[in-house]
């Protein structure tokens, strides 16, 4: 049993994905059941993840198949984020799919398969597994983006995403090949050892590999020279899928990024630190400036997610080899706060939008705040969290990330990031202002999926506040619960 237990979270997700796929054929007509079945899978998987964390003395580090598959606190932390996002995505989808007339069971199955891929990305200890996880995730996401085949925007989005994504996968593979050539291994810890050696002769070759890998990963997290696909894809994809992409897919790419660079390439930091810093600055500015001009809320949030990538890249640029500096835990914390906030926002948007993706302009939200009080409040708090207003999770995310970067001496970067955060206040607040202060009645009435949306909103709202409050031990609401910050610390310690 002890040998099987670490595989349970990923195994349960996979089994439920296959089960949903088969049930789709067996159950004729009763598609609603499939949503509940897949939700059950997510819940079971989350329970095993939590109990896995609780059973061990933390930090723990278990590796299988000659370090190809690693289960440690780091991967469990990410498992929980993915499962949370998948649960929210499934709950918001059930109403959305009925409204858009595309209720097929494969949708839920693909969401669960995507989570399987993400879990492999979070716990892969070998470049091979990391790449396979990435591909499992992206191929499922390609199909989900193009799931609405009768929507021309959805078709455009999937085509664009598919071609550019395949291209970036090529870059990643080329980088892996060069790194394998230089280090004679694809295992992350082994690469780290080879790179650390004094007489490492193949450094230029390894650097070339790192740069190519970086191009591929930066494409996945949408950093600026490689961001052009993102607004169109986020706009064209079905709204719950966009929410899933903006949170879970981005977090998974950062899980890959962080483990790879922290374990393998930290000793070649001089070669990539400056590049990442420059990209971080361009990414922040581009994301924020373009977000100003958007009228469609999905596009606006797409650009704002680009700017969040920029903030996170500051963290990557100031990584260092010892866990005492807390840069990496700040990144984890930020990712958690950001993903909860943005998936909650998209739950609101997919509830408010109408058939064929109507009513997704910011101006359409006039009067929402009074007609749907819960959605109004939830949306405002998520926006405050994305801006970084205390006491939401977003504030503490930014606070820890920036102060950790300052400790590493990244003053100019942090200064630019703070200026950018101030710029972002305008477009986030505009949404709230339209919801509450623009005099117009919100005419549209929504029927489907009210229950599940309310459930999701309460769940993510509590999450956003709790991530903010949970960092103070004086405020710990749940007796005996370790604060979120403690979890991120343990996660990073388990890596080394």
């Amino acid at each position: 049993m002890n040998n099987i237990f670490p595989f349970l979270p990923i195994g349960i997700t996979l089994v439920f994905a296959i089960a949903v796929m088969l049930l789709e054929v067996l159950l004729n007509g009763k598609k609603q059941i499939l949503a509940y079945v897949s939700l059950l899978g997510v819940v079971f998987s989350a329970i095993t993840t939590v109990s896995l964390w609780a059973r061990q003395t933390n930090p723990f580090h278990l590796s299988f198949f000659s370090e190809m598959f690693i289960v440690d606190n780091y991967s469990l932390f990410f498992y929980l984020i993915f499962l949370l996002c998948a649960g929210v995505c499934i709950l918001t989808s059930s109403g959305y799919l009925i409204r858009e007339n595309m209720e097929h069971g494969e949708y839920y199955s693909l969401v669960l398969f995507a989570v399987t891929g993400m879990m492999l990305m979070a716990s892969g200890g070998d470049l091979l597994i990391l790449f396979l996880g990435l591909e499992i995730m992206t191929i499922s996401i390609y199909v989900l983006v193009g799931f609405n085949r009768y929507n021309i925007k959805s078709n455009e989005a999937v085509l664009k995403y598919f071609f550019l994504g395949a291209f970036s996968a090529g870059f990643i593979l080329y980088g892996i090949a060069l790194i394998y050539g230089a280090c004679q291994s694809t295992t992350l810890s082994q690469i780290g050892k080879v790179v650390r050696a004094e007489d490492f002769a193949y450094a230029p070759m390894a650097v070339m590999g790192i740069l190519l890998l970086m191009v591929g990963i930066l494409f996945k997290v949408a950093a600026v020279p490689f961001h052009s696909w993102l607004p169109d894809v986020y706009e064209g994809a079905p709204t719950p899928v966009t929410g899933f992409m903006i949170s879970a897919v981005k977090v998974a790419s950062f899980a890959f990024f962080l483990r790879l660079f922290l374990i393998s390439f930290i000793d070649l930091k001089d070669s990539w630190k400056d590049i990442i810093s420059v990209i971080a600055v361009i990414t922040m500015f581009t994301g924020n400036i373009f977000a100003f001009t958007q009228t469609n809320i999905k596009r606006m949030l797409a650009y704002s997610s680009i700017s969040h990538t920029g903030y996170l890249l500051i963290g990557i640029a100031s990584l260092s080899a010892s866990p005492e500096n807390h840069v990496a835990d700040a990144i984890l914390y930020y990712l958690l706060a950001y993903s909860v906030g943005s998936i909650g926002t998209f739950a609101c948007i997919s509830y408010l939008s109408q058939k064929d993706e109507e009513y997704v302009n910011i101006d359409d939200y006039a009067g929402v705040g009074f007609k749907y009080p819960l959605i109004g409040i939830a949306m405002s708090i998520f926006m405050f969290s994305l801006i970084g207003v205390p006491p939401t999770g977003g504030f503490f995310g930014k606070y820890y990330l920036f102060s950790a970067a300052i400790n590493q001496g990244m003053y100019p970067l942090v200064l630019i990031a703070i200026v950018n955060s101030m710029m972002s206040v305008y477009y986030y607040l505009r949404v709230i202002a339209v919801m509450y202060f623009k005099h117009s009645d919100y005419k549209v009435t929504n029927t489907s999926g009210k229950m599940s949306t309310n459930l999701v909103l309460v769940y993510t709202l509590v999450g956003t506040i709790w991530i903010g409050m949970g960092t103070f031990t004086i405020f710990s609401i749940v007796p005996g619960a370790t604060s979120v910050l403690e979890w991120t610390k343990v996660s990073i310690e388990s890596l080394f």
């Binding site: 996979l14 296959i18 796929m21 299988f64 198949f65 000659s66 190809m68 598959f69 097929h104 494969e106 199955s109 693909l110 398969f113 399987t116 891929g117 492999l120 070998d126 091979l128 597994i129 396979l132 996880g133 591909e135 499992i136 191929i139 499922s140 390609y142 199909v143 193009g146 799931f147 085949r149 004679q184 002769a201 193949y202 450094a203 230029p204 070759m205 650097v207 070339m208 740069l211």
Partner: protein, 167 residues
């Protein structure tokens, strides 16, 4: 010069030239045919490296199966040269791209000068044979091998979702 080096030169030159031809031809069919030449010369390179299984797969799957599919779909679509969109300002685009890639070329050049004195490990006698690749797949790499099956399953599912008619 060893025969090995001469063959390497021939194969790599053919691969580069036909790759260049592939991107400069306007007609899709001639582009596809020059891609076949690239694949075959790459297979030759794999053969020189004693990767026997890879050599066979390259010929059978890439130069054979996939290219047949590509050529068939080009012929079925019946693309005429006048249907293709006009390509504007090729010279500017190519020169800007080259300018952007210059630092990369510098890094490649530097790594070659370093690697020149490097030691390359000797491979074992049965390197690249079907037997040894199979042994690796089912022992050391059994986990990725199983993971690939999920990848294939998803591709299958994805094709069904994207291609099936309205029910």
């Amino acid at each position: 010069m060893a025969a090995n080096t001469i063959f390497f030169m021939i194969f790599s030159l053919v691969a580069i030239i036909s790759g260049f031809v592939m991107i400069t031809r306007r007609h899709p069919l001639s582009a596809a045919l020059s891609l076949v030449v690239t694949f075959i010369s790459l297979a030759g390179l794999y053969g020189l490296l004693a990767a026997k299984l890879l050599f066979i797969i390259q010929i059978l799957v890439y130069a054979g199966a996939i290219m047949t599919l590509v050529i068939f779909s080009i012929m079925l679509l019946n693309v005429q040269e006048e249907d293709l969109p006009a390509e504007e300002r090729i010279i500017e685009r190519v020169s800007i791209t080259t300018l952007i890639l210059l630092p990369m070329i510098y890094i490649i050049g530097r790594s070659f000068t370093v690697i020149k004195d490097g030691q390359f490990p000797e491979v074992s006698q049965d390197f690249g044979t079907i037997h040894s690749v199979g042994m690796f797949l089912f022992t050391t790499y059994s986990f990725p091998f199983e993971v690939i099956s999920i990848l294939l399953l998803i591709s299958l599912l994805g094709v069904v979702v994207l291609a099936k008619r309205r029910i």
